[in-house]
Amino acid sequence: MNEELDSQLSAMFDDELPPEECELLARRLSRDEQLKARWGRYAVMGAVVRAERGVRLNAPLAGRVSAVLLAEPALGTQSLPGAAQRAAVRWWQPLAASALAAGVAAAAILWLRAESPPAGIPLSASVQLATPAVGSAPVMPASASGSVGRADSYVVPPSPGVRAVIVPSTELANYVVAHSMFSSPVARRNLLSAFMTSEPTTGGAEEPQDDAKSTAP
């Protein structure tokens, strides 16, 4: 047998081997039966030197313990109490994080819905800012078709597929049109043209109103 290895074994038996060497030798010791037998004889020498009377030096104790432990599961395969707890925490942490994120998202959606104006109420400036431009639906005066003598009426073409958040824009147009009879024709035309030209752009609600104010008599 390797003399250096045996020297290390002797030092390890006395707890005099550096830790890093101990790690390597412990691995070898646990697998090498010859080395283990030598280790056992070192223990016997110590027992004799200490004159441990009454102790049987040839007792099969180690063999008996080893035989019993054969039926035991290896410790590494069992879940340690602390490790199990940590594993459980690791298991539900991503789920909890996902649930929290979903909850925050749901709360944000509900809040946005609560904040958005209900159908039938004129669109506020803040909501209109967030509304995508829908300039493809111009307001066409019915009078343009040549019907004379009838009250002015304006029809906003239906826009299928437009989401509910756009409805207030249409309703605002209808609202303006419905009340146009109370304004002068010049002001009404200016207001409508300003409204139509302002919608396809950035969608700012204040611009047409400003325009309307500036053109109003």
């Binding site: 441990e52 180690a62 432990l69």
Partner: protein
């Protein structure tokens, strides 16, 4: 050198599932543990049974061992508690313990106990081992004998032995190793010789 470092490296291996490392711990401490238990029970065979039970309890409790104390201190505590419990149990029902013990505890190997306890062959072998080791120590050169005796009998560290013998620590390590080698050459003959009981140490 930090104490218990070799035990700790073996303990860590056991905790990671290496049962072979626990064999090394049993081999190292079996005699000391039996000697300790014999303070509570006089019968060597009974002391071995208690020591065996203590080792198995220690193995099962090893996941909770954090290394705050030395392994052998922890092991001794388990052995003392096991011995005390065994004495109480025996005093309560001595007949059941000594004769009619029928439990499912795998640590209790009645057959092995009956087979090995105090047989003439076992006693002869123990005496032969003892005389062989003593003869080998007597035959050692003075410096080797002093080193191994200071280590095993007095429990001195290499540094303390070096101070006592006025030599470097490396020399102490070498002397102890050479002393063990000389003893082991003769001891191996006994274990691997006519009585064929070498496997009992393995």
């Amino acid at each position: 050198m930090s104490a218990d470092v070799s035990d700790l490296s073996l303990v860590r291996r056991v905790q990671r599932g290496d049962k072979g490392a626990f064999d090394a711990l049993v081999l190292k401490y079996q005699h000391k543990l039996v000697k300790l238990v014999m303070r509570y029970v006089r019968n060597p065979a009974e002391a071995e049974d208690i020591a065996q039970e203590a080792f198995i309890k220690a193995y099962r409790a090893l996941p909770q061992f954090r290394g705050d104390s030395a392994f052998y201190t922890w092991l001794y505590r388990i052995a003392i508690n096991t011995a005390k419990n065994a004495v109480v149990s025996r005093d309560r029902s001595p007949i059941e313990y000594n004769i009619d013990r029928h439990d499912n505890d795998e640590s209790y190997d009645m057959q092995g106990r009956m087979k090995d306890s105090e047989t003439p062959e076992g006693l002869v072998l123990t005496d032969e081992i003892r005389s062989t080791v003593n003869a080998a120590i007597d035959a050692l050169p003075e410096d080797l004998r002093t080193a191994i005796v200071l280590r095993e009998l007095e429990g001195l560290s290499y540094e303390e032995i070096a101070a006592a013998m006025d030599c470097p620590v490396g020399t102490v390590r070498s002397r102890i190793f050479r002393a063990r080698e000389a003893i082991d050459r003769r001891l191996r003959e006994v274990f691997e010789g006519g009585l064929g009981r070498a496997e009992e140490l393995g």
